[in-house]
């Protein structure tokens, strides 16, 4: 199963992974347009800082995902073959109940209200790393200039 690996010592805090993530998950595939769209651009990877040192925090697509156990709609699922954990593309709908956000120890699931404001859905949505289903390599990995992020097959 594919997982992200992180060598945080190499990270300079440029946040290009976040920009690449925002672009990839926007309609226009552009960070600039996503930022100007009027909705808050939301990343699914987080370069946090610990006393001025950058540390990328990623979804680890857990083997025993707490977000899946907590999901009361059943939409958050771990794919038994790819191992990818996502709340999108299943029979069940995300209804924005936030149980997954309450349960994720790494804080990498965020609430998004944009889809309701845009009138595209009745419900706000939890958004998280989906391992970029339309790409061979996740956008964050490609966007990183310092090879901090990589994909490992574990």
């Amino acid at each position: 199963m594919k997982k992200l690996t992180v060598i945080s010592e190499r990270c300079t805090g440029c946040k290009r992974c976040e920009m690449a993530c925002i672009a990839e998950h926007s309609d226009t595939k552009s960070y600039i347009f996503a930022s100007l769209s009027g909705f808050e651009p939301k990343t699914r990877i987080f370069v946090d800082s610990v006393i001025n040192k950058p540390v990328p925090v990623v979804c680890r697509h857990c083997d025993d995902p707490q977000c899946v156990s907590a999901c009361m709609a059943g939409c958050m699922q771990k794919d038994p073959i790819t191992g990818i954990v996502t709340n999108m593309g299943h029979e069940q709908k995300c209804v924005g109940c936030w149980m997954c956000i309450m349960a994720c120890p790494y804080g990498v699931i965020s609430p998004s209200f944009d889809i309701v404001q845009a009138g595209k859905s009745e419900f706000a949505q939890a958004i998280k790393c989906d391992f970029c289903p339309n790409r061979d390599t996740p956008a964050c990995v490609e966007g990183c200039p310092n090879e901090v992020l990589a994909v490992a097959d574990i």
Partner: protein
């Protein structure tokens, strides 16, 4: 091996799924008193307000029983457990033999003793049957009263208000969500609900439910009267423990289980709302009707039933994520402190407009939290609570915007470690 599970909600369905993953050959039977596929009770408010259809409520798939090769027996109420013969018996005398049994009978709404509680138009807000009955009533209904401003009461109030009914919520405590929130947090959520037109009356209870055939009004403790065509009663939950008690299994507030979720009978396990847990955030023995607890207990019980020891620890009674209208909120662990043990706790909070965050600390560890308005990263804090992580060296930073899991990246919280250099 024959596994029998009584109950097909969060704990029962999860246990069935896990058992099948662990044991490909055994016979697994899930028996439900309800006639529906496993559905999420937590979603029925969104079904009542019309945003979800019945199909959307099935938290497992529509083919769940087939997919996991489970014998799903619906619309069948179990009335007796015969522990000597190791079988359970239904109301229609159907028998199911077991080698290992899981009691996941859940909880039912508490029924307050009020005159008129049996009138037409008085509903609980617990099951899909309840929801369908309420929807039937909508056409003619204009005004609703909700008794109880707990989680279920407010969910129902929000759903009815979205349907265009005039809704009044009656709560006997001095705040809404008295078990989950403190006063500051409750006022933010109360305003959010009121902005939708929901009226909330605190410090009052219902003395009489008036009407000849159907409910027409309620009389409050201050003698005032509120007309209504629908009354939703949501004053708490009671574990469905009688089945266990009648066959001699130990129970107090709920069914008593050991750390392997085994009851006083070594071949009988129990999980979900029906059991009593030791809350690590308060140290108290309680019952807890929350989805996440039930799923985890279902999972752990399955492992133990299949012979793989898994200790169930980290139990926390209060774990709620809510968003009724516009403002999200999360409460977790010990969120309320009595005056007499105030000196044992250290409280940190920030409050600006609709954003309120509060952490309750005890001996350098977080034991409770309330986040309102901004719930990002809240799971990181709940993990610090569940794992009992000492945070005393970060006390002044705990609610800073940039405080995050990055500070604890050496702590994997029992999952895959992306920072581990050995994986390359």
């Amino acid at each position: 091996m024959r596994y029998v599970i009584i109950g097909a909600s969060a704990a029962g369905a999860q246990a069935g799924e896990e058992l099948r993953k662990l044991d490909k050959n055994s016979k697994i039977t899930i028996i439900s008193a309800e006639k529906y596929l496993p559905y999420s009770r937590c979603l029925i408010s969104r079904f009542v307000d019309g945003r979800l259809k019945e199909d959307n409520l099935y938290f497992k798939t529509r083919h769940f029983f087939d997919d996991y090769d489970i014998n799903g027996v619906l619309d069948t109420k179990i009335v007796k457990i015969d522990r000597t013969a190791k079988r359970v018996v239904s109301k229609d005398d159907e028998e199911f033999a077991y080698d290992k049994l899981l009691i996941a009978t859940g909880s039912n709404p508490a029924i307050p003793k009020i005159d008129g509680i049996d009138l037409n138009g008085v509903y609980f807000f617990h099951s899909l049957d309840n929801a369908n009955a309420i929807i039937q009533k909508f056409e003619k209904a204009k005004r609703a009263v909700v008794l109880g401003a707990g989680f279920v009461g407010l969910e129902s109030a929000y759903a009815l208000a979205r349907r265009g009914l005039k809704v009044t919520v009656i709560e006997k405590a001095s705040q809404i969500l008295p078990n989950q929130l403190d006063v500051t947090a409750s006022l933010i959520i109360q305003k959010d609900l009121e902005s939708l037109g929901v009226e909330i009356i605190l410090n009052q209870s219902v003395s009489f439910i008036n009407g000849t055939d159907a409910v027409e009004s309620v009389t409050l403790s201050d003698k005032s009267m509120i007309p209504c065509d629908i009354l939703i009663v949501a004053v708490g939950m009671r574990p469905n423990k009688d089945l266990a008690i009648e066959c001699g299994i130990s129970a107090d507030k709920g069914i008593i289980v050991d750390e392997f979720l085994r009851t006083s009978d070594p071949d009988v396990y129990s999980a979900g709302d029906v059991i009593e847990i030791q809350d690590i955030s308060t140290g108290k023995r309680i019952t807890s009707a929350t989805w996440y607890n039930a799923v985890l207990q279902g999972k752990f019980s399955a492992f133990n039933m299949a012979g793989i020891d898994r200790r169930y620890s980290q139990a926390i009674g209060i774990q709620n994520a809510v968003q009724f209208h516009q403002i999200p909120a999360i409460s977790f662990g010990k969120t309320q402190i009595n005056e007499e043990d105030e000196q044992d706790y250290d409280v940190i909070s920030v409050h600006k407009d609709n954003v309120y965050k509060k952490l309750v600390l005890n001996n350098g560890k977080i034991c409770g939290m309330i986040f309102v308005g901004d719930i990002a990263k809240s799971g990181f804090y709940t993990a610090l609570i569940r794992y009992g992580v000492d945070v005393s060296e970060f006390r002044s930073k705990l609610l800073d915007y940039d405080f995050s899991y990055a500070y604890f990246k050496e702590n994997t919280f029992d999952q895959y470690d992306p920072y581990d250099p050995l994986i390359f």
